[in-house]
C-alpha cells in the first residue's frame, strides 16, 4: 500500500501527454492566488530587506551604496560579533531542547487524546489555551511566577519548608536556558499536539481495523502504521519548530530583557537584531538588514537541508 503519492503529473515519457500537461497547469493554477498575495506582501519586503543591506543609511534615508560593508562590519572581530556567535549558539540549544521536549510531548499527547473517549474536547481546549493567550504577556507572567521575592512558587516552597531551594531561577545562567525551553514548551506544545491530532485523524479507520484483525499490539501499530503515515506531518513540525526557534524573541525579551541576561545566556539572534535595529544607531537599517539577511540565508539553507533529510527518511520508512 503505497497510498499517498499521486501518480498524476509530468510523465517520464519523451512528450508529456495533453492530459498530464493539463493537470500540470491545473496544479499551477491552484497555487496562483497564494503566490500572488505572497509575492506582494512577503517576498517583496524580503527582497527589499536584502537590498537595504547593501546600502549605508542615515535614519530612513539612503546614504550611499555600500555593497558588502554592512556584512563585513558584522564579520569583523568586535564585541558585536562575539554576541552574534553566542546568540547563535543559544538558538541552537533552544532548538534542540525544544524539538526533543516539545515535539515528543506533543506526539504523546496527541496519541493519548486519540484514544480518549470522554473529555476529549475539554482536554484539547486546555492544551490549546496557553498558545491562545497573548505571547507578549506570557513571559511576564512566568517572570512573576518565578520571582524569588514576589512569586507564588517561591512562596509555595517557603510554605512547605523548602525555602532553601529558592533561587533567582531566571537570573541564574545555569538555570535560565532549561527554564526558557520549559516555559516555551508550556506555551506552545498545544500547537503541535493539535496538528498531530489532525494528522492522526486523517488516517482511515480501516487501516487500524485491519491491524487489529491481525492481532497487532499497540506498539506494533504505532511503529509500523501510525508513525510512518504521520511522517509528513512530523517532519513538517520539525521544520516549523526549527524556524520558530531561530526567530525566537518574545519570550527571551520578557525573561531576560534586551541584552539576553543573565550574562548573555538568554541572548538570541532575535534580541541581537532588536538591539542593532532599535538601539539608536544611525545606520540601524543597514546593519540590521545585513544581520537579518545573514540569518535568513542560514535558516533557509538549513531548512532546505532539513527537508531533504526528512524527505529521504520518509521514503525509507514508507
Amino acid at each position: 500500500m503505497d497510498g499517498h503519492e499521486p501518480v498524476t503529473g509530468v510523465s517520464s515519457g519523451p512528450t508529456p501527454s495533453a492530459a498530464t500537461r493539463f493537470r500540470f497547469s491545473v496544479g499551477a493554477v491552484f497555487v496562483l492566488p497564494a503566490l500572488a498575495l505572497y509575492l506582494g506582501f512577503t517576498i517583496l519586503p524580503l527582497v527589499a530587506v536584502f537590498t537595504f543591506s547593501a546600502f549605508h543609511w542615515q535614519g530612513l534615508r539612503l546614504a550611499g551604496f555600500d555593497a558588502l560593508a554592512n556584512y563585513l562590519r558584522l564579520l569583523a572581530p568586535s564585541m558585536l560579533r562575539q554576541e552574534i556567535a553566542r546568540a547563535f549558539f543559544n538558538n541552537c540549544i533552544f532548538f534542540l531542547g525544544t524539538v526533543v521536549l516539545q515535539n515528543s510531548l506533543a506526539l504523546g499527547l496527541a496519541l493519548l487524546l486519540h484514544t480518549q473517549r470522554r473529555w476529549r474536547a475539554f482536554f484539547r481546549t486546555v492544551i490549546a489555551v496557553p498558545f491562545l493567550v497573548n505571547p507578549l504577556v506570557v513571559g511576564y507572567v512566568w517572570t512573576l511566577l518565578l520571582s524569588p521575592t514576589f512569586g507564588p512558587i517561591a512562596a509555595g516552597l517557603e510554605a512547605v519548608g523548602a525555602g532553601a531551594a529558592i533561587r533567582p531561577w531566571l537570573g541564574d545562567p545555569d538555570w535560565v536556558r532549561p527554564l526558557v525551553i520549559l516555559i516555551n514548551a508550556w506555551q506552545w506544545t498545544g500547537f503541535p499536539t493539535l496538528v498531530f491530532g489532525a494528522a492522526l485523524a486523517a488516517i482511515p479507520e480501516e487501516i487500524f481495523q485491519a491491524a487489529l484483525l491481525e492481532r497487532a499490539s499497540r506498539l506494533q501499530v504505532l511503529r509500523a502504521i501510525t508513525l510512518p503515515l504521520m511522517m509528513p506531518t512530523l517532519g513538517a513540525m520539525v521544520v516549523i519548530t526549527f524556524v520558530s526557534c531561530f526567530n525566537a524573541f518574545n519570550l527571551q525579551y520578557a525573561v531576560g530583557g534586551v541584552n539576553g541576561a543573565p550574562a548573555g545566556a538568554n541572548d538570541v539572534l532575535g534580541l541581537v537584531f532588536y538591539r542593532v535595529a532599535f538601539g539608536g544607531d544611525l545606520n540601524a537599517i543597514g546593519a540590521s538588514s545585513a544581520l537579518a539577511t545573514g540569518t535568513f540565508v542560514f535558516t533557509f539553507a538549513a531548512t532546505i537541508l532539513l527537508r531533504h533529510m526528512l524527505a529521504r527518511l520518509e521514503e525509507r520508512v514508507t
Binding site: 499521486p6 512577503t42 530587506v49 473529555w119 474536547a121 489555551v129 491530532g197 487500524f208 535568513f296
Partner: protein, 277 residues
C-alpha cells in the same frame, strides 16, 4: 465506527496522564485569573491570595484602556477577513502542491517556507512603504492583506502535508467516474481535510488576534486599533501594573478561548463523521 475498546486500565492511565498535564498547564493560568482580581499592591504583598473587591477595578481600568468596544470589533473584522483570504488561498495552494507533481514543486514549497523566516520587526519598514503606496495606511484592509500573507507559509506547508496524506485511490476512482479537477477538489478532497482545515484556522487565529506590532505601526486613528494595542500599553518600561496586566490579558484572551471551544465541536464532529466513507 467499530473499534475494540482498549483495556480499562490503559484508558484510565491515559486519562490520568492527560489530567496531570492539564493541571500543569492550567496552574499558571488560574493564578493569572485569580491575580487579575487582586490589586497590584496585594499581589506584591502576598503572591498567593484570594480575589478582593478592589480587584474589580483592574477590569474597569483594562476595559477602558483596551477600549474593548471599538477595538474588539476591529480585531474580529481583521482576524476573520485575514483567515478567509489567507487560509482560503493556502488551501488551494496546499492542494496544488500536495496532489500535483509539477516541475519545481519542491522549489515552490521552499519558496513558501522562506516567508516564515522574515522577522516582523524588519519587514515592517518595506511593508509600511508598500501600504503607503497602495493608500492603505490606517486601514483595516491593509492589516488584512499583511496578515493573510503571513499565514500563507505555515498554512500552505501544513495543508500540503495533509493533502499529501490522502490516499490516491479516491482520486483515481473519481477520475474514472469522469469528474473534473475542480469537482474532485470541492467534493472529495476538501471534506476529507476538514478537521485539518479547522485546526489550521484555529492555530492561525491566535497569532493574528494577538499581534500588536503591525497595528501600532500601520494604524493611526484610535477607531482602527485592535485589542492587543491596548494591552501593550500595560507593558510599558516604567510601569508594572500586574493587576491591570492580568485583567487585560483575560479580556483579550477570552474571545479566542471561546472561539476555540466552539470550533472544537466542529473539529470533533468532522472526526466522528466517518472519514472512511
Amino acid at each position: 465506527m467499530i473499534r475494540a475498546r482498549p483495556a480499562q486500565r490503559q484508558q484510565a492511565a491515559a486519562t490520568g496522564i492527560l489530567t496531570l498535564y492539564a493541571l500543569l498547564v492550567l496552574g499558571p493560568l488560574v493564578l493569572v485569573v485569580v491575580n487579575s482580581l487582586r490589586s497590584t499592591a496585594a499581589i506584591y504583598a502576598r503572591p498567593i491570595g484570594l480575589p478582593t473587591m478592589d480587584g474589580i477595578a483592574n477590569y474597569a481600568a483594562a476595559w477602558s484602556q483596551a477600549r474593548f468596544s471599538t477595538y474588539f470589533v476591529n480585531s474580529v473584522l481583521v482576524t476573520v477577513a485575514s483567515l478567509v483570504v489567507g487560509v482560503g488561498a493556502a488551501t488551494l495552494a496546499g492542494y496544488g502542491l500536495g496532489r500535483y507533481r509539477f516541475a519545481g514543486r519542491e522549489a515552490v514549497g521552499s519558496f513558501f517556507l522562506a516567508g516564515l523566516l522574515l522577522p516582523a520587526q524588519l519587514g515592517v519598514v518595506p511593508l509600511f512603504y508598500l501600504l503607503r503606496a497602495l493608500g492603505l495606511i490606517d486601514s483595516l484592509a491593509g492589516l488584512t492583506l499583511i496578515y493573510a500573507a503571513h499565514t500563507l507559509p505555515l498554512s500552505t506547508f501544513l495543508l500540503a502535508g495533509f493533502f499529501r496524506q490522502l490516499p490516491v485511490e479516491l482520486e483515481e476512482a473519481a477520475r474514472l467516474d469522469g469528474a473534473r479537477e475542480l469537482r474532485i477538489f470541492t467534493s472529495i478532497m476538501l471534506p476529507l481535510v476538514r478537521p485539518a482545515l479547522m485546526t489550521v484556522i484555529v492555530v492561525q487565529c491566535a497569532p493574528i488576534w494577538n499581534d500588536f506590532f503591525y497595528p501600532l505601526v500601520m494604524i493611526r486613528s484610535n477607531d482602527h486599533f485592535t485589542l492587543p494595542v491596548g494591552l501593550s500599553s500595560f507593558v510599558d518600561q516604567y510601569q508594572s501594573d500586574y493587576g491591570g496586566l492580568f485583567a487585560a490579558l483575560v479580556i483579550v484572551s477570552l474571545p479566542l478561548i471561546l472561539l476555540f471551544v466552539l470550533a472544537n465541536r466542529h473539529v470533533i464532529a468532522g472526526l466522528t463523521a466517518g472519514i472512511g466513507k
